[in-house]
Amino acid sequence: MIEALALTKRFRDKKRGEIRAAEAITFRAEPGQIYGLLGANGAGKTTTLRMLATLLKPTSGTATVAGFDVTRDPAKVRAHVGFLAASTALYGRLTAREMIAYFGQLNGLSAADLRARIKRLADDLDMHEFLDRRCEKFSTGMKQKTSIARTLVHDPAVMIFDEPTLGLDVMTSRAIVKFVRECRDRGKTVIYSTHIMSEVEKLCDTVGIIHDGRLLEEGTVAGLRAKHAENDLEEIFVKVVSSVPSSPPVLQP
């Protein structure tokens, strides 16, 4: 489970002063469900997810991920989280097997467990053909499969996806979407950030609309449609982000 409580992140920028990247973000994502964070570029999705994955420390507020507090037990949080983003790349000079094994070792898996786990993942993701080839030679699809295997090697209870289909072709995107569904079906807590409406409609049990670092609205896709008397999710999104006065993201330095 993920529970974010007034999660706030502010950065100081020399030119622009203090920037509110995330402001009092509060939400809850349950196991066996996909929580979608829907927002435009720069809305605060990545910052929020990086705080949940403990890559960034919150300025204030906190979150509990898989039962561990992100500020007090960041290592334990990471041990229970699989984080996949468009920006999380592979080591080109390692083979897929070495890449997965490396992250398995960093997660404390024994050699025997690791062997079994790699075999299982290679079976599930159909990776045997390229398992011992270097990642630098991979196609996009192969890279995505290896990244997925890397996130799953320690069988985390929580999966965080930060725009995982960004820049991918249709077939690879479909494979990712299928994999996200499978994570939910296995009872994992899934949080999925995107700005693609169709992915939200296909995947998310609950949607949070984020804009200017603030979570403006949340609910099921059906609930949002009913509330706004509008079927088109894109229209709902525009309506929500336009309904609130845009707070300047920049504070006085």
Binding site: F11, R78, A79, V81, A89, R93, L94, L106
Partner: protein, 407 residues
Amino acid sequence: MNHRHILTVYLKELKDSLRDRRTLLSMIIIPTLVMPGLMFGVGKIATTVFSKARQEVPRVMVLGGDDSPGVVTQLKASKKLNVVASVPDWREQISEKKVRGVVQLPDGFEAGLRAGKAEAVTIYNYEGELKSGFATSELEKFFRDLRDRAVADHLAAKSLPATLVKPFDINRQNVAPPEKVGGNLFGGIVPYIIVILCFTGAMYPAMDLTAGEKERGTMETLLCSPVARVDLVLGKFLMVLTGSLGAMIMSLGSLTITAALSGMIMTAGNSSGAMAKGATSFMPMIDPAGILGVIAMVFPVAVLFSAVIFTVALFAKSFKEAQSYVGPMMIAVIMPAVVGMLPGIELNARLALVPILNLSLVCKEMLSGVWHWNYIALIFGSSWVYAAVALFLAVRMFNREDVIFRS
């Protein structure tokens, strides 16, 4: 701090780096080839140029001497000098290297010589030019011999013994063992090369493992693991240190092998002659204790280099940006190393605290067999303090979000 995590990160980085041609080049290939390259390559070129210049019979001119035909004839008869006709623009001829030296004979030189009242002979040369130097030497030797013969003739004419003007000979005999001679010869250049190789050995892995990873997106992947950041820094840092020390060990190993090989070649070259034994005993060698001392002293400096380059490169967004930061640092490294090479700069308590310069000076002394234990302790201790501070800064830098996620 988790030692297992540090080892896991280090072993992965080592494997990754050893598959990278650029790391292999900076850590193994260049350090291995630079010493033989210097000793055999540059040395061979220098020897060839020198011996070729030596073999060439220098063109010289004689000014005056119309009233000294005997001396001029002897000069022309010398197989080591090629006397050409004198011309009015002889100064230009020397400058344009058409002639290597000009000798001016004073009026009545030969008559003066016979009477024991000859005036000075003047030799014109091009200072600093190798072939002009050889020509001058030959001319000086010719006139020294001429003077000695004149003295001998005068003494014989008065029935005086030749020992009157040369009552004793002066002999010079080397008592320094070959390794001390080698230390004095290589003591200046070896620390300089090692300092540079240590720096360049750390440069590429440091940039690749920090800015390179940020640029490729693998840094964020790595930060997703439950490993503490201090463990990630130390694992990566150990790889950078391996690059630095690897370069040093390769260069020292290659220096030792090169010195041994050049010894074998020299011995083989001289084996047929009577000089064989003598040549071998005077062949410069490197003192093994000096080499071990250098390794011990370079170690903390390699840690310092690794930590500083790591910290600076970590700040960069991309490999290219890291290069633009780290490249100029080379000047800061070379300057004290060059100062350490200069003759006359000697180790003292103040210089013992100046990083790199202190290493350069102490290595020079150790390689020539001088062990100032107080200074060695001071340099070793201060180098470790600098290294520890740099490593602390590297860990702090790695914990800064604005640095790690700088884009």
